[in-house]
Symmetry: C2
Subunit: 198 residues, 2 copies
């Protein structure tokens, strides 16, 4: 199972945003929404071996985290508006039932990075970092890798420290700094290739 | 200059679609819109060495083709709604001024694949095909490559034949069949890596 944790420094944890102007009203939740498609969807359906956490650090109800589990997810649409609409419906609820309570593979919990780390269980942490070792030449745990991904602002210093303490290995996806969803696409492809060779 | 040609078999060439339900009302123009972001945008702006053609084969005014030139493009936003809105504004116009008439790097022409091929000038053609040779082990022209990309339906048989006559080399991006925008992201990364090594 490959897992991605996208940390949205400004992405809103409340449902008070407009689907008609997602970038301007949601603290750039659009960036995270695109990561969902990249992590979970392929041409003919869902990646059943993938999971994504969206850590929402913006807005009045932050931090909260959404977890989408490819093993049990249903009706994950590729377009931003559908995905953002589903996320908004989840966020407007008063309660955050926790990672153990999932509806069609989707869960919402209070808490941010610490809550995610507690939920991950056994894993090998990696952090996507443009100045790091090229992932193509790195050893990657194919069984339980977790990739921490920054948003349009990168990572906050406190997050970097937390990930360093965790022992996360920095990996680069290439020589050009790309969007978070592209980074997830590139990691997924590298894992697909290694799995096919294994 | 790297160029991508995405062929939308159902994507509408008329502007008569709703931004509130792009997938259902535009013949899956959403697929092509996501390709624009993947081809042209990176973390800190636009790829000035990239260009994308969207061949629109659906709807009453088909075929028409949009060309977005990274050298001169401005205000290209990453979110689907903004991109789709810009495309709609272009498509609702009565006239299609042709590839030579561009506004902020964006042009609209009548015609489909043949019009694109006539516009391409000097180029080496490649066609993305999941069953083909792995791009990582292929020789790729870095000066003037053109990548033909299918939509959610793949390629029509007539398009396949046309590309074969053109001598397009089939390339695969990996062992899993991915969305068109992911394929563009993967090709772009491979080209970035080769350019960095050159």
């Amino acid at each position: 199972m490959r897992r991605f944790v996208v940390i949205g420094q400004t992405a809103t944890a409340s449902g008070e945003f407009s689907l008609d102007d997602l970038p301007a009203t949601s603290g750039r939740l659009d960036v995270l929404v695109r990561c969902v498609r990249a992590a979970l969807l392929v041409s003919h359906g869902l990646r059943r071996d993938a999971m994504i956490y969206l850590v929402l650090q913006g807005g009045s109800r932050a931090p909260r985290t959404i977890k989408i589990d490819g093993r049990t997810a249903e009706y994950v649409r590729p377009d931003e508006r559908s995905l953002a609409g589903a996320i908004r419906s989840l966020l407007v609820r008063a309660e955050s039932p926790g990672f153990d309570v999932s509806t069609r593979g989707v869960a919402l919990a209070d808490g941010g990075l610490d809550a995610v780390i507690a939920d991950l269980g056994d894993f090998t942490p990696y952090v996507l970092d443009e100045s790091a070792t090229d992932m193509r030449s790195a050893t990657i745990d194919l069984r339980n890798p977790v990739f921490f991904v920054g948003d349009q602002l990168g990572f906050a210093e406190s997050t970097r420290s937390r990930l360093a303490v965790l022992g996360a290995l920095p990996l680069s996806v290439g020589p050009v700094s790309v969007h978070a969803d592209d980074a997830i696409t590139l990691v997924s492809n590298e894992l697909d290739r290694r799995a096919a060779r294994a």
